[in-house]
């Protein structure tokens, strides 16, 4: 549940509790005041009953005295006395009426009985006063029954009313007790609920904020793979955690990209350093011979009277050979560098690969047959003219043949030209029965300088760069070069170049 929803719910619950308290208070007030009204009525009615009882008593005494006087004397009732007496009776009647106004459902029956009996009594009293002076009128005023009945009824009403008053008072007490209880319970409940909600809200928010803080600290410490996944919230705090996670993802990505860029730059730098170290190594080997022989001949000229001319000439030849080798090496390095920087271009012309092969083989024949090797040529005139860079093609062939000659002794070097069925590539194979290569060596054979480490001789332009250049040239010319070999049995290098001129132009 989201933080906002939790807060809203808590607030709503507290409001409901307050509403319940306020409602209880108003209901209690209403109930109390209603009971109070009833109580007051009951009290007033009690007072009126007492008053009425007294009036009835007084009037009864007065009338009994007057009745005795009337029976035993001839005194008449004067006009004003009669009026006063009748007013007194009217007052009593009013008191009965006033009591009637205080009547409620529960006292109605008692009141009706009181009203009827008191009306009979008051009526007889009225008749007594009105007929007092009429001597013929027989008074039954001495009869105590009506008075006793009315008194009895009044007593019943009073009892009823006091019972009601007590009942009302009890109701008021109970109401006060109940509302007090509800108010206190509601108050305590709302305090408890507020405190509980507050406690959980604070703890929940605190816990999640702590997790967020811990997460951001771990991000800050570089632990960008860390995920804040323990936030118990799908609202604001959850969103915040998601945003932090996304931020760390982005950061990690950026750092990784940076790292990769740096690594690839470092790798390029390291490769350049290795290349320079290898170049330096390769240049030093022929230079060693050139400088060494030159110094030696110089010393010999200084020290000896007679120079061994054939030996001297042979030594000079070695210097020249090493110089040429150095030049070839420099050319190779420049070629590789041109290829690497994308500055090597193709000089495309039409030529027959078979013819180029034949002339190249002819010029290399002394080298090829030097170790007692046999030369086999297959299908040189079977391939058509192609459009490609003839100079580079020749260089590839020279490199492959030099290698074959170098590593083969008393064996067979076979050169095959063909266009395999279903293929649009011219295929030139140079195979030998030489020392061959292990799988590991084959995997590295086209990498610059790799071969140089183990080569036995660098005399035939074998700089260790030859096969690397062959591979780059073949790819530049729209073809490829592959090797198959077995240690001790020989190697087969296969060059494939496109027979279709269009693909060469596209590659160029």
């Amino acid at each position: 549940m989201s933080l906002r929803r939790r807060l809203t719910l808590s607030l709503f619950t507290i409001l409901v509790l307050f509403a319940i308290n306020v409602g209880t208070h108003f209901w209690g007030s209403f109930a109390r005041s209603e009971s109070m009204v009833a109580y007051r009525q009951a009290v007033t009615a009690g007072q009126l009953s007492g008053e009425l009882a007294k009036q009835l008593e007084d009037e009864r005494q007065k009338i009994l005295v007057l009745s005795t006087l009337r029976d035993n004397t001839d005194d008449t009732l004067s006009e004003p006395d009669q009026t006063t007496a009748l007013e007194g009776i009217a007052g009593t009647r009013e008191t009965v009426d006033a009591l009637g106004r205080m009547v409620s459902d529960v006292t109605a029956l008692q009141y009706e009985q009181l009203e009827a009996s008191s009306e009979r009594l008051i009526g007889s009293w009225e008749a007594f006063y009105l007929n007092y002076n009429d001597v013929r009128w027989e008074s039954d005023i001495d009869d105590p029954i009506p008075y006793l009945e009315a008194s009895q009824r009044l007593k019943e009403l009073e009892q009823r009313q006091s019972f009601i008053a007590v009942q009302r008072a009890n109701v008021i007490d109970r109401t006060i007790e109940l509302t007090d209880r509800i108010t206190v319970i509601g108050f305590i409940a709302s305090i408890f609920l507020t405190a509980t909600l507050g406690f959980f809200l604070v703890r929940y928010t605190n816990d999640n904020l702590k997790r967020l803080k811990r997460g951001t600290q771990r991000f800050g410490a570089g632990e960008l793979n860390y995920r804040i996944d323990d936030i118990d919230d799908d609202g604001e705090l959850g969103d915040l955690a998601g945003a932090f996670n996304a931020m760390s993802d982005k950061l990690r990505q950026a750092i990784e990209e940076e790292q990769e860029a740096k690594e690839s730059a470092d790798e390029a730098n390291a490769a350049k350093s290795r290349f320079l170290a290898s170049v330096s190594h390769e240049l030093r080997t022929p230079l060693n011979a050139i400088i060494g022989y030159s110094e030696m001949l110089h010393d010999e000229l200084d020290d000896e009277a007679q120079v061994d001319r054939p030996q001297f000439q042979s030594d000079l030849g070695k210097i020249v050979l090493s110089g040429r080798q150095l030049l070839a090496l420099i050319d190779d390095i420049l070629d590789l560098s041109k290829i690497e920087t994308g500055k090597m271009t193709l000089a495309v012309s039409s030529f027959n690969p078979g013819e180029v092969l034949a002339t190249t083989i002819e010029s290399l024949r002394p080298i090829l047959e030097r170790n007692g090797n046999q030369l086999e040529l297959v299908g040189l005139d079977a391939v058509p003219e192609i459009e490609n860079d003839a100079v580079k093609f020749r260089q590839i062939i020279v490199n492959l043949l030099s290698n074959a000659a170098k590593f083969t002794d008393q064996g067979v070097i076979r050169i095959t030209a063909s266009i395999p069925e279903g293929s649009d590539m011219v295929c030139i194979e140079v195979s030998d029965t030489g020392i061959g290569m292990t799988e590991e060596q084959q995997a590295q054979v086209f990498e610059a300088f790799v071969q140089a480490e183990d080569s036995t001789s660098h005399i035939y332009g074998g700089s260790g760069l030859g096969l690397a250049i062959c591979k780059d040239f073949c790819e530049l010319m729209g073809g490829d070069i592959t090797v198959a070999s077995e240690p001790g049995k020989g190697s087969v290098f296969t060059v494939r170049l496109p027979a279709d001129p269009a693909s060469v132009r596209a590659a160029a």
């Binding site: 190594h281 030093r284 080997t285 011979a289 060494g292 036995t456």
Partner: protein, 123 residues
């Protein structure tokens, strides 16, 4: 065993021939080896007074040869000078770590090499 017999281990024919002749002109007897295994065999068989050892050798490389010489009690005190076309400082360290007594970079400064040989043979 002559006190001035030097084993020259070098796989490059031209450089081997050249150095052999210059050492002979300087008055040293020379033994030759073209690869690491051959070098070890000659060291054990002929006990030369010093070894000039090319580091980039077929079969066994120079570092291994030097380590084997140091491990073999009968020849372990033979002075070894490393010869290499690797000119970096760490190449020198690598040679010295393998147990070489000194180090010469190609192209060889011959007078300097003679001085190193003389020093090692005298010491």
């Amino acid at each position: 065993m002559s006190a001035r017999q030097i084993l020259l281990v070098e796989d490059n024919e031209l450089n081997r021939d050249m150095l052999r002749r210059r050492l002979q002109r300087a008055g040293y007897e020379t033994l030759l080896a073209a690869d690491g295994q051959e070098a070890l065999n000659v060291v054990k068989a002929s006990r030369p007074s010093l070894v000039l050892l090319d580091m980039n050798l077929p079969v066994l490389d120079g570092w291994t040869v030097c380590q084997r010489i140091r491990e073999d009690d009968s020849v372990s005190d033979t002075p070894v000078i490393a010869l290499t076309a690797h000119a970096m400082a760490e190449d020198r360290e690598k040679a010295m770590d393998a147990g070489c007594d000194d180090y010469a970079t190609k192209p060889i400064d011959f007078p300097d090499l003679l001085e190193k040989i003389g020093r090692l043979l005298a010491g």
